[in-house]
Amino acid sequence: MKKTSHQCNTDLLNRFFDHELDPDEQARFSRHVKECPSCQEALKDNQSISDLFKACVDEKIFRADLDNLEEGVLDLIGQKKYSLWLRLKDLFRPRKFLIPAAAIITMLVLSFSIIRQHGPIPGPSAIINSFEGNGSYVMLLETPKSHQTVIWFNETF
């Protein structure tokens, strides 16, 4: 018997059986199978198992009540389509959620309060509308950080 590279390789045999080999390989392995009794035997086994499985499946499908099955599936889908209110109710059912939510709301309220209280000063601390004096000069200053207004005048009297 002529020896080939495909001699009794189980993996190749299975792929050959399932028609997964590329055409050239399929042809080569087919030639090998014709000459190899053990592979022929293995292929027969595979075929018999496959036939048996297919027969069982066909029988089950034949006996299956598809109308009943369809109704069952539609019933299951219908049960999932409950109202938005029920979904929200389900969302809030685990009350552990409420404590962190309340804490977050409180933190936000406090943060806004603190920002409102200590926010940046809008402009200088004081706006000078008018000035009168007998000094020779007057300076208006503003501190860099808190924008405090400073009036510095020279007292001559």
Binding site: R95, A102, I105, T106, A126, Q148, E155, F157
Partner: protein
């Protein structure tokens, strides 16, 4: 039950901590005048002035800041308050009005009954203006005028 109690507690805390808004502000204005002597020489900062001086040191180069006097007053619309200043000087403050977050004041300094300084200023609530310049004992007088309403 526990959840309700916790939420009530948090709500109460939030309400207590939230600052009162301007709606609750009264028509009277509280004014505090600090008279400070700034001078060169030994380094000294009055502990009561640390917050004020920290900011002033960015514009002034004096080494000593002493609190000479502190006066408080509470003025209504059109009312006047007087503060005696060192060196026969007098500071007169008149409340002219409140506009938004600012209070309008007329500040006048007199020396020996003669007006040497006058300004009309709009001072931001809970802020201060500093008036300085008069000489006194080798240094200069600063008047820190703080208002709140």
């Amino acid at each position: 039950m526990l959840v309700k109690r916790l939420m009530s507690l948090l709500l109460f805390a939030a309400l207590m901590w939230a600052p009162a808004g301007p709606v609750m502000a009264g028509p009277r204005v509280s004014i505090v005048v600090k008279t400070i002597l700034a001078s060169q020489g030994s380094k000294f900062i009055d502990p009561n002035l640390s917050a004020v001086i920290k900011e002033l040191q960015s514009v002034f180069r004096y080494s000593s800041y002493r609190l000479l006097n502190q006066n408080s007053m509470n003025l209504g619309m059109g009312e006047k308050g007087t503060v005696l200043l060192p060196g026969n000087r007098v500071l007169r403050i008149m409340l002219l009005g409140i506009a938004g977050k600012r209070v309008q004041l007329r500040l006048a300094i007199f020396k020996k009954k003669k007006k040497i300084f006058q300004t009309v200023t709009q001072l931001l609530n809970k802020n201060s203006i500093i008036v300085g310049g008069p000489r006194h004992r080798g240094g200069y007088l600063l008047f820190n005028i703080f208002t709140s309403f």
